[in-house]
């Protein structure tokens, strides 16, 4: 049976999350020719409300894999998972994963300080001596360390910088530090090898 070329649909809360996930997929697969489509709209309530329609739309566009990514923002990840699962009950894309980083996707990015340095072109590697999945607001944490490490010469703009960091990220580092990353990693690896 010939395998269809993978084409990934991403549903996220924010356009920048899509760019970030796209970059992570390219890092995992070492292949930046995989087709990726994404849909997003400000905020999480919109995602839950719209993801059913978006999934159909992504299917129409030819996506055969679906990744829904949603921050947990201090809420119970199980509950979020269930709400999204319910919203996707009629999802035409069979191979799908709902992935929920602890707190925010920035926690994954914090796992590799060197990628932050390279991505944003900092002079030094930022010091992060924390268990990144225990940081309560990874976005603010990242904002602070970029401010400090750059000696106030750079302002963190998540909509641009997340993807820039992800493009330089060492997947092994996230794997090591972020258990919430593992199902996502496994999903991408298993479904994209040709």
């Amino acid at each position: 049976m010939s395998k269809r070329k993978p084409r990934v649909g991403i549903i996220a809360e924010d356009r920048s999350d899509i760019e970030c996930v796209r970059a992570l997929i390219f890092r995992i697969t070492n292949d930046n020719k995989i087709g990726v489509d994404g849909m997003a709209k400000n905020g999480c309530t919109m995602l839950v409300r719209k993801c059913g329609h978006w999934a159909v739309n992504l299917h129409e566009k030819g996506c055969n894999l679906l990744i829904v990514i949603h921050d947990s923002d201090g809420k119970d990840p199980r509950a979020i998972h269930n709400r999204i699962e319910l919203a996707l009950h009629a999802c035409p894309i069979v191979k799908k994963i709902i992935t929920i980083p602890v707190e925010e996707i920035e926690a994954w990015l914090l796992a590799d300080p060197n990628a932050i340095k390279k991505g944003i072109n900092l002079d030094k590697i930022p010091k992060i001596n924390r268990n990144v999945e225990q940081i309560s607001s990874p976005k603010e944490f990242l904002e602070d360390i970029i401010d400090k490490t750059s000696n106030r010469e750079k302002i963190y703009i998540n909509s641009k910088h997340n993807a820039m960091i992800a493009r330089n990220i060492d997947i092994e580092k996230i794997k090591e530090k972020c258990p919430s990353f593992l199902p996502f990693l496994k999903f991408v690896q298993e479904n994209t090898v040709s």
């Binding site: 905020g43 302002i155 703009i157 909509s159």
Partner: protein
């Protein structure tokens, strides 16, 4: 320090307006003509009255428009109240020209029931109680409104009391710094980049203004040139934000400078002629975008406006920034970054915006929304969103935000009465 509440009376469409302000990024919303611009301008009056006055009006009560403003500032838990009567005129471009103003102050840590009349000249940096730097002409002209406390020399005495020196003087200094740091930014100042000159001229390092119509554009290029030359931390931060490691509006920014030798002649009585040389410089700004070198007048309107908005947002030392419709001419992707920058910069300075964009509204929380309306009977009114609806309505809104969608969408769907 931050501005906690503000009120204004008899100013343009604002007959009597009062509203509280949060420290977070705050948005004024309302239909066209409701008075958002007037409200922002009235806050900007605080800055205008803080500038030194050298002109004192006689007959000021009859000849000019009189408006009143009130403000409460907070500094480390101390509240500072200001009441001011302002005499002003409007120039041909509908800008306010302050003729004169009277001030009264109340400090929660000093005689908290008493209003003190302290003219703005007493607030400046140079001023300290051991010396008065005020010219005699101004000193003898400072007039106090009726019923106010005492004369100039009473204030002089007051400034020498120990308690006043300790408790109030540092606050006066803080307030002065704060209101002097209020700035107003409107995208219309930078519309039509075609009006921006391709070069500017400096004379002995000073800016030679050539045209009036392009003053906003020219001023921006001049400010940008100066920052670029100084290359200080603020400029580097700005450049990193707009450049390739940031939102990527431009690749490169440079200025070519060309000296233009000039001289004039001075003729003395008796016919002696003396040549006087001075240095003029031609400054040519060059923006590199996608490898192409462009003059500012060749930039797209959105790019030009964003470059200017972010310049003033990031580099200037404002304490309170008033921004009109940051969304004008900007596509969603870029606007997203701009709003995020507004939010992150609002940690360092208080920021109030006006907006018509539900995309912008999506990023604000309902506590920080002020609804502006124009009522036939009352003129402009400003209310916190939560106060403009019943508690049931507000609860319904909160529920909507939690379960169904965003604030901008709620507004678009008619969730709260806009008009």
């Amino acid at each position: 320090m931050n501005l906690k509440t503000f009120d204004v009376h008899s100013y343009r469409s604002c007959q009597s307006v009062k509203f509280p302000l949060n420290r977070d990024l705050t948005g004024l919303i309302g239909i066209n003509g409701s008075g958002k611009t007037n409200v922002l301008n009235s806050i900007f009056l605080l800055r205008k009255i803080s500038e030194f006055r050298f002109k004192y009006a006689n007959n000021r009560d009859t000849e000019y428009n009189t408006c009143k403003i009130g403000a409460v500032f907070e500094h480390n838990g101390i509240s500072i109240q200001l009441k001011a009567t302002i005499y002003l005129e409007m120039d041909e471009r509908n800008n306010d020209e302050i003729i004169s103003s009277d001030f009264k102050w109340k400090f929660s840590n000093y005689n908290s029931k008493e209003w003190l009349t302290i003219p703005i000249e007493f607030f400046s940096n140079q001023f300290n109680s051991s010396s008065f730097h005020l010219p005699v002409s101004i000193r003898s002209n400072i007039r106090f409104s009726k019923g106010s406390r005492g004369s100039f020399f009473e204030i002089y005495k007051l400034f020498h009391t120990k308690e006043f020196k300790k408790n109030v003087q540092p606050l006066l200094h803080e307030v002065f710094e704060f209101i002097n740091g209020i700035n107003y930014y409107s995208a219309t100042q930078f519309s039509d980049p075609g009006r921006c000159p391709v070069s500017i001229e400096l004379e002995e390092d000073r800016f030679r203004r050539r045209t009036h119509s392009s003053s906003g554009h020219e001023q921006f290029i001049f400010d940008l040139y100066n920052s670029h030359k100084q290359n200080d931390k603020e400029f580097i931060r700005y450049f990193n934000t707009i450049g390739k490691v940031g939102i990527g509006l431009i690749d490169e920014l440079s200025f070519e400078t060309l000296p233009i030798p000039s001289s004039t002649y001075k003729v003395r009585s008796g016919g002696q002629i003396k040549q006087k040389n001075f240095e003029r410089q031609l400054i040519v700004p060059i923006f590199t975008i996608n490898g192409k070198k462009l003059s500012p007048n060749q930039l797209s309107e959105g790019t030009f406006k964003t470059l200017a908005l972010l310049y003033y947002l990031i580099t200037d030392k404002s304490t309170l920034l008033l921004i009109e419709e940051p969304e004008v001419c900007i596509h969603h992707g870029l606007l997203d970054s701009i709003i995020k920058l507004l939010i992150s910069q609002s940690k360092h300075k208080q920021i109030i915006i006006s907006t018509h964009s539900d995309f912008v509204l999506d990023h604000l929380s309902p506590e920080n929304i002020l609804l502006v309306k124009y009522l036939e009977t009352k003129g402009t009114t400003v209310k916190q969103l939560s106060k403009s609806m019943s508690s049931d309505e507000y609860r319904a809104l909160k529920m909507y935000l939690k379960e169904s969608g965003n604030l901008g969408e709620y507004a678009r769907e008619g969730g709260f009465e806009y008009e």
